[in-house]
């Protein structure tokens, strides 16, 4: 049974560019949450998708957007990248509001 997978593993972008990160949830899960973890900090909640709709959103600007597909996979898009967007981006899946299982993360570096 595959767990949560994320792609790519690492990504390097320059300021002003746009990036798309992808997440496949654990089998049987229908909810995907995204978190940003800066170096030395705990993860911070970006948003959560359920039934292809954004159900909840954290304190992140509109430059951060997402999507959930009918197969429950999800994307995180970040526009107009800033140096401060450099972080580990974590995806977590769950069955509705149940326990969240995390993927290995995508390390984004903005130069």
């Amino acid at each position: 049974d595959a767990g949560v997978t994320q792609s790519p593993t690492h990504l390097i972008k320059t300021r002003g560019q746009q990036v798309t990160l992808r997440c496949s949830p654990k089998s049987g899960h229908d909810t995907v949450s995204w978190y940003q973890q800066a170096l030395g900090q705990g993860p911070q909640f970006i948003f959560q998708y359920y039934e292809e709709e954004e159900r909840q959103r954290g304190n992140f600007p509109d430059r951060f957007s997402g999507h959930q597909y009918p197969n429950y996979s999800s994307e995180l898009n970040v526009n107009a990248l800033l140096l401060g967007d450099s972080a580990l981006y974590l995806c977590a899946s769950s069955l509705d509001r149940g326990a969240q299982y995390f993927g290995p993360g995508t390390r984004l570096t903005v130069l």
């Binding site: 949560v4 909810t31 949450s33 978190y35 973890q37 170096l39 030395g40 900090q41 705990g42 993860p43 911070q44 909640f45 959560q48 909840q56 954290g58 304190n59 580990l88 974590l90 977590a92 769950s94 509705d96 509001r97 149940g98 326990a99 969240q100 299982y101 995390f102 993927g103 290995p104 993360g105 390390r107």
Partner: protein, 111 residues
């Protein structure tokens, strides 16, 4: 924003010793969860304790929750080198499912 604050920020012990980490939070919660993270990668769920529970065990882990003091502790007994990781507490507020993390405790277990 960070809901929980772990204490200490870093802990260094010898194999076989017990490790205790504390977490304080600010608002009323539905449950509190502890996660482990190795080398800045994905988070592994360790244990969940609900607001109406005071203590919970899982293998070598013991978690306590004091809702009157808004605090929790994680005890790892008979530590092993493989326990070396960062440990985070995360709270869930009633009516929501998103996790709010603290900054974590870095645990180093030396052989």
């Amino acid at each position: 924003s960070q809901q929980g604050e772990e204490d200490p920020q870093a802990l260094s012990i010898q194999e076989g010793e017990n490790a205790t980490m504390n977490c304080s939070y600010k608002t009323s919660i539905n449950n509190l969860q502890w996660y482990r993270q190795n080398s800045g990668r994905g988070l592994v769920h360790l244990i969940l304790i609900r607001s109406n529970e005071r203590e919970k065990h899982s293998g070598r882990l013991r978690v306590t929750l004091d809702t009157s003091k808004k605090s929790s502790s994680l005890l790892i007994t008979a530590s092993r080198a493989a326990d070396t990781a960062s440990y985070f507490c995360a709270t869930v507020i009633s009516g929501y499912s998103t996790l709010t993390f603290g900054k974590g405790t870095m645990l180093l277990v030396s052989p």
